[in-house]
Symmetry: C2
Subunit: 347 residues, 2 copies
């Protein structure tokens, strides 16, 4: 549990310490104080049950309180929290125009439990999910595969720590299929990736998804071959090369393989080369008037998006593209999707 | 900065401490160790520049490391972090089937700064926003009004700590207007609340929004009266009573006043009574075939939603309702919207 105060005036560190000390001492906590002289105080309070608190008082008025306790010691933590609130308002909140703002209390952070609720966004922000169950958790030869249940988003597929897709995320599927503007009747479609409902090199992702992500994939993964589709569980590069050699052409190529690499050093990163190889091979099997759909990245990772767009200008054939920003519910950040097509010759 | 390890086997606390100690000591940090005997160790490391670290070793194998530093001491923090990673993999990651999982590192939490990036969800989860600017921050006689700029969501209106609406949230406006299924041509519409673009008791919300939320409200707040609309800045209860007395009836009433109270003790909470009063008065000015739209609450607050629905059965006239769950981008949680209409008499 974290609490932050900010006193408007430069604080008399010793006075702040004296005012807050009793809250911890009343709970039978043992105090150790470190005085930096020029950087304020750190007081550490230790309780017999293994809980402890840090009270950090900065000379310019910032006061930080952190309480850490294990499992079933919530009661003492709440008690301390209540007392802190009361003491703070008594001691520091005189109703004057210069009175300090109310203390800022962050929700409790739960760490080291069976269920991990923190899955940072692609742009590195801390977000807490309402996870209440670990549905599936296995290591495949390629990655760690987790399916966690969120109260609001349903089951979420997490590959090596990256939130991939939740049952709530129809918006993702809609966007990567062209946002409802395409008529797929009678068309030839090649989907790369999409282990949550299509071809993927990792059989274990398919095994997990067909059991626990049925709201997303329906019964399409129960049989790898249907009347109008076939699922190949293999590396897509040789398959694309074979199709290109055979001259097999598609109306649509949907690349749901991987997010754009976050790295911003394309020359040092073979992932960009891999990405361009896939793009080049995809263009080879795409009809002249066909469309290529793919997800890009979090809208905040502008450098990565720019680099991706630079790759597009380096393909074997000239292409044009458009992009769309979509809110995918379980991502907690806006996501960019691309539509790419072959530049038509001017006549 | 927080790092969590979990060692598969019950840990020899002393061995873990001995292994990690050098990381802190190499940086010239002063160590204080507390040994609980039955609850493991707490080691506190203090640096001359005011930074400090907590190393908490639990006897069942959980190891928690927290580093806290002020502003410009990031370098030391990153160094410690790198060394921790290296040490951890050297010391604890023997490639056996029982080897512990990789350490879990949460993004750095920034506290006490001018810009607050943490605005918990209605269901109490910790989420970090990509806030980069405080655009407006004033106290009105009714509430604290903040408009903060988010890189991805644009300007966000935050009233007394509650995220109200961002420039990205067309989905909210769409939902509270009936999700595009209504034809408003020539209709009489009464909007309650909606200070971000309509009538509100708090002039200061309007002042802030008409300046900084123009993507949301356009020019509608520049003049309080237009050809086909009028904005009243007053308490809506007497206005509703006057309309009811005059017999003025509306095709649509859109209530955008306040979220459903989070409290689950309706008998003790006058907010529920207030809410029912508004509902009753709204029904009085709603045509027999009219529709009432309102936002409900976060989908996870099922108790509050149930209580709201119970209020609907206690109105002066029988009503029916439907609900819809909508993803409002800046909320980072799914939100429930209601459509309410008067029950038609059976013939």
């Amino acid at each position: 549990m974290c609490v932050v105060f900010f006193l408007n005036l430069a604080a008399d560190c010793n006075a702040v310490l004296k005012a807050l000390q009793p809250i911890f001492q009343e709970q039978g906590m043992t105090e150790t104080v470190h005085n930096w002289e020029d950087h304020g105080y750190l007081a550490t309070y230790i309780k017999k049950n293994g809980s402890f608190a840090n009270l950090r008082i900065h000379p310019h008025g910032l006061v930080l309180v952190d309480l850490q306790s294990y499992n079933d010691h919530m009661k003492g933590r709440e008690e301390t929290d209540q007392k802190l609130k009361k003491k703070y308002s008594q001691r520091f909140c005189n109703p004057s125009p210069s009175s300090p703002p109310p203390p800022n209390r962050l929700p409790t952070i739960l760490r080291g439990g069976v269920i991990d609720r923190y899955w940072p966004t692609a742009d590195g922000r801390l977000v807490e999910y309402d996870i209440d169950e670990v549905v599936y958790d296995e290591d495949s030869p390629y990655q760690n595969i987790k399916i966690l249940h969120s109260k609001q988003f349903g089951n979420i597929l997490i590959l090596s720590g990256d939130v991939n897709l939740a049952e709530s995320d129809l918006a993702y599927t809609r966007a990567i299929m062209g946002s409802g503007k395409e008529d797929y009747t009678g068309k030839e479609v090649l989907i790369l990736g999409g282990g949550d409902g299509a071809s993927n090199i990792d059989q274990m992702v398919i095994d997990g998804c067909k059991k626990y992500m049925r709201k997303t994939c329906g019964d399409v993964l129960d049989n790898l071959k249907g009347e109008c589709y076939q699922v190949l569980i293999e590396d897509c590069i040789p398959v694309l090369k074979r199709y290109a050699k055979e001259g097999r052409m598609f109306d649509y190529v949907i690349n749901d393989l991987t997010a754009v690499p976050i790295s911003t050093s394309p020359e040092e990163d073979s992932t960009w080369e891999f990405l361009r190889l896939i793009l080049d091979l995809s263009m080879k099997v795409l009809k002249q008037d066909g469309k290529y759909f793919t997800q890009g990245n979090c809208i905040n990772l502008t450098d990565a998006l720019t680099l991706y767009e630079e790759q597009l200008s380096r393909l074997y054939c000239p292409v044009e593209f458009s992009k769309e920003t979509v809110c995918v519910p379980s991502y907690m950040e806006l996501w960019v999707f691309y539509t790419i097509w072959k530049k038509q010759m001017e006549v």
